[in-house]
Amino acid sequence: MAKHRGRGISTIEYPTGMNQNGDPSQAWVKLKPDGRVDVFAGTVDIGQGSRTVHTQIVADTLGVPYDWVTMDNTNTDSSPICTGSFASRGTFIGGNAVRFAAEKARERILDIASKELEVDASDLEIADGEVVAKGAPQKKIGIPDVAAAATWTYGELITGTGAAFKPYAAVDDDTGRVEIEPHSAISYAACVADVEVDDETGDVRVLRLVQVYDVGRAINPLLVEGQIEGGAMMGLGLGVLEAAYPYYPSVEHRGEQYGSYLAPSMQDLPEFDNVILENPSVDGPFGAKAIGEMANNAQPAAICSAIHDAVGVWITECPATPERVLRALDERAEPRRDGKRVVFDEDSSVRGVSSSGGRSNGAGFQLVDG
């Protein structure tokens, strides 16, 4: 009767953007007469920080200070379409929309500046809110003056619109084959979980999570860490705590309050070690891929494998509740060996549970061993 330590690992990949694409995001950018920037995009900030990330992307694309930029994502009258904040698409697709819009506005800024400086637009660059002639730093004009000139001299609005879109990827229903990439990018991650298992109570404590994420480019590392940590706690809940149906497939005894639905609390907090790898994407904003959704995918398998490492039982039905761990320790089930087949978890398979072996009058499931 003791507590046992164990370690488990997992590696995952996750796509950016709606599966099979076809999910537009659009934006528009305009300059106020003093050069300050308004951005209109419909991307919803659900806490992931798209407002912050989009503001950073626009600031650097235009070459103006971050706090010159105002982000308006508040309504559908002023904002063009954004398919939504899901499918880990906010930074890549929503970010590309505001980036493209800012690039167009940047071209207009250079056009006006080139008239004011009498320098060809292609010989101009923008930094820190100023348009400067390449190789002639004394020849420059502030973007506030460019915007003023546009407004009061040329009677123009400096603006730009952007639309990020990848066409729908049809799938062959017979083979699942697609002809074009059904996503915008793919992010990768690896997770190492250290756990402690009490073989008397079956209680599992996650002690440490070491996680490596390739996010392409971290537009804001602080926000990326926020996704890694927040996602990991959700993955921990998935792995050891949470169940909407505690006796699934039964619907009995559902928790109707936080007291009886076991969402992770501060007291479940393991030690964290986050590593961000930057392997830039080709066409994401500043090389970004995505992080949001995948952040809760790696932990359950790492944790359940760590449980096996600790006490030698495979928990393959999540969450690994104390009861499931204790039952597994009682049963100590071994796989059935049949020739070269090594068959685990037979009792919970379709064949093991269904009265018809998953088939009736012609129709039915195609079993993996059938």
Binding site: G47, D67, G230
Partner: protein, 185 residues
């Protein structure tokens, strides 16, 4: 004995963020409802109305309380403090500053409850251990941050490691819009 006849109301005296108020209400009405719908302070959130998430937490006579399960008739004469009342206008309390600087807030919905509870913790225990922080805030639900940066922020505030965001910088013209970011109104 205070009596509210069938369907009747009584006057409950509260001092909310330093301002004395006579609230006319059934004594059974929750403090959360009074603050949100009568007083017009929307920082306490109706996250669960079961006393379970902490998003409605406010200070009652200095102690953090779940305003959703607190019948207003039971706190007659009390002083109530919400996150709006933690610091003078334009200033942030250390715990607010730490939450802002350390990214202890993502969607922000749970933040006022955490901030108020953290503020109370530091008031009664200026140098809490990590265990004491977990013990004091464990009843607060945050689904976004994974709590890591929340604990960091409380520890930082306790150590006084907070920067100039304690004052809203005047140098930033967009700042007033930051005060009501993405306000649907």
């Amino acid at each position: 004995m205070i009596k509210a006849p069938k369907g009747g109301k009584v006057v409950v005296k509260l001092t909310v963020n330093g301002i004395a108020r006579d609230v006319e209400s059934s004594p059974l009405t929750s403090l959360l409802h009074i603050l949100r719908e009568e007083v017009g302070l929307t920082s306490p959130k109706a996250g669960c109305q079961q006393g379970g998430c902490g998003a409605c937490t406010v200070l009652v006579d200095g102690e953090p309380r779940r305003s959703c399960v607190l019948a207003v008739g039971g706190i007659d004469g009390s002083a109530v403090t919400t996150v709006e009342g933690l610091a003078p206008d334009g200033l942030l309390s250390p715990i607010q500053a730490a939450f802002y600087e350390r990214y202890a807030s993502q969607c922000g919905f749970c933040t006022p409850g955490f901030v108020v509870a953290g503020h109370a913790l530091l008031a009664r225990n200026p140098e809490p251990s990590r265990e004491e922080i977990l013990g004091a805030l464990a009843g607060h639900m945050c689904r976004c941050t994974g709590y890591v940066k929340i604990v960091d922020a409380v520890e930082a505030a306790a150590r006084g490691e907070v920067g100039e965001e304690r004052v809203f910088p005047e140098s930033r013209p967009e700042e007033p819009e930051v005060l009501v970011p993405g306000s649907p109104a």
